[in-house]
Amino acid sequence: VRPGPEQQVTAADTRENEPVTVTPGAGRAGARPRPGAWEWYVSLWQPARFWPRLLYPVLAAPVAVLAVVLIFPLLLVSLVLIISPLGLWALAGVLRIALAFGSLNRTLGRSLLQVQVENPPKRTEPGPFGWRRHQLRGAGAWRTLGFLVLQLPAAYLSLIVTVLAWVYGLELTSYPFTRRWLSSGSRDSSGQIRHGFSFGSYVLDGPWTIALVALVGIVLLVLAPVLTWLATGLQRKLITGLLSPSRQTRRIRDLEASRAMALEDAAASLRQIERDLHDGVQARLVALTMQLAMIKESLRPAAPDVQPADTAELVDVARNQAKDTLAELRSLARGIHPPSLDLGLEAALSTLTATCSVPVRLSVQLSSTPSAAVETILYFSAAELLTNVVRHSGARLASIDVTERDRRIVLRVVDDGRGGAQVGGGSGLTGLIGRAQAVDGELDVDSPSGGPTVVTVTLPGQG
């Protein structure tokens, strides 16, 4: 089953709703061929879509009436009560009912119209006052009220369009058979009552006119699912616009998520550093200690047949151990903060590209210096991506571009290798995504099989 255009619409909506999500391969998803109008039309008749969409206007209209009839008088009462201590509680209770209707409408939209809509944020504050605050401010109750008001005319519009389209479609199509129950009130020359629609003395009962009426009916039936779908368009917009969390709420949630990720990332790096120290430098120093103990042992006067040459060999081993320890400590320190980064991002990246076995064309065009955190992430992302290029791509040429776009800093690493890079599968991209998200950035991979691979890291700029 090919996705209909309406699914593309909702997919675009979700992307807009979640500005911080990483969308690997989004470039290719956008290039997916749009199904033609005919495929879309055929999909309207598939039972799994046809019946729910017919059912929606029928269910939504009474729900809309019930909501308005129930909630607005109660709202009025609670607004009058607002001068009393009970007022806010009453208001919160009414809003809670409105939210329940909002939730019902979300469910209807999701299950019958395949509208993709997020739930409002869950209550975080405990206790009855937390509950009240949540109803009054947190859960988007006022936007839900707006929805319920607008939903009433919208629901009736779609119900009327749907009913008219189907009823007249069926009526006119079956006109050749059903007109016999229609009495026009006038009689023909033989005194028989003429059957059919009539306009004054004109009666639609000639063979051609009957055929024409039936044809109009067929056209109406053919168009009925389209009309039904178009009629619910306003309601779909209302659901995605007013029943999903507000932009601000989503922003807060995204920031909370990215903060949690930053904390996680910091803890994970510390754990990794500890692990590296424990397994590397510390273990080597313990080994060095052992070797020194062995040297001392060989220098004991009682040591059985130890030659000076043996001792010299032990000293050599120990010295090499000390050198290795230093080298490991140096690389560990560089992994925490590359010293070349102190000279600026461009200097650090050119040091990085100079030592890369694949030739890299580097271009850095920034009007201002990014924050230290962003610089570090850019540097490590470039390093990791270059490592991937060398290890997996088989590329002969790569390029790194750092530019500014809309106050965001964009790092693009391109190679002419075999492509097929994926997030996950030990490519190290997952770690980079985490690092980018931690500072409210994103990472995008476009790597079709056969290449070229383009990885784009977008991070917030200054200000």
């Binding site: 692990r275 424990h278 397994d279 510390q282 273990a283 080597r284 313990v286 080994a287 200690t289 052992m290 070797q291 020194l292 103990a293 062995m294 001392k296 042992e297």
Partner: protein
């Protein structure tokens, strides 16, 4: 057998540098490492196969690099009560020390890996463990002393008595204490008696029961 030369040892240590170094060192001192493995499960298999005098076990090993050694030691202690177990690690965790000593303090040791620097002391600790005693790292003892809930009565100890208490907790005998603190064994006995009185511990002769008593007091 009472420690001495020619112990048969099984070692569990995931770092190959350390494993090889340790095997060489122990061989220099006439002990035989009959098996050297890299994780807790292999350790238990190797112990079952070789039935050594002593197991030298790293605490952090694969797969989680947290407390595999302690878990393996717990299993081993239950199955082989006469097996000497030395846990060693690059850090001292009081929690682990407590867990280990809660099992038993006999034939049990917990040392920092650094202690191999002084081979004499290290081998002495191994032999003490194999002979039924205890070897606790001075670092462990000082941590236990620091967090002890009896710090009030610990405060009544003289500095010298405190030193003697620490040595006792590490597992040293009176003779050992007198050698390392350079005081007469009579003086040591006097201090020990003083400590037992001040801390309200029942006097006892056996080395490891002394440790047990001291630690019980410290942890209580």
């Amino acid at each position: 057998m009472m420690g001495g030369l020619g112990m048969r040892i099984v070692m569990a240590e995931d770092s190959s540098i350390l494993r090889d170094g340790m095997v060489q060192l122990l061989r220099l001192r006439g002990h035989e490492v009959v098996a050297a493995v890299a994780d807790g499960e292999a350790l238990i298999t190797a112990i079952a196969e070789h039935r050594p005098d002593l197991a030298v076990v790293d605490i952090r090993m694969p797969p989680t690099f947290t407390n595999e050694g302690v878990l393996a030691a717990t299993t081993l202690r239950r199955t082989y009560p006469r097996l000497g177990i030395l846990l060693f690690s690059q850090y001292v965790e009081t929690t682990f020390a407590r867990q280990l000593l809660a099992m038993s303090s006999a034939r049990m040791g917990y040392l920092l890996k650094d202690r191999v620097a002084d081979l004499d002391e290290f081998v002495d600790a191994l032999e003490r463990i194999a002979a039924g005693g205890t070897a606790l790292d001075p670092e462990v003892v000082s941590q236990l002393l620091r967090v002890s809930r009896h710090s009030d009565s610990l405060a009544t100890l003289t500095p010298r008595e405190r030193q003697v208490l620490e040595q006792m907790a590490e597992g040293h005998s009176n003779a050992g204490i007198s050698a390392s603190l350079r005081i007469s064994s009579r003086a040591v006995e006097k201090h020990v008696a003083g400590i037992f009185t001040k801390l309200d511990l029942p006097p006892s002769d056996s080395t490891h029961r002394r440790v047990l008593a001291v630690l019980k007091y410290l942890q209580a």
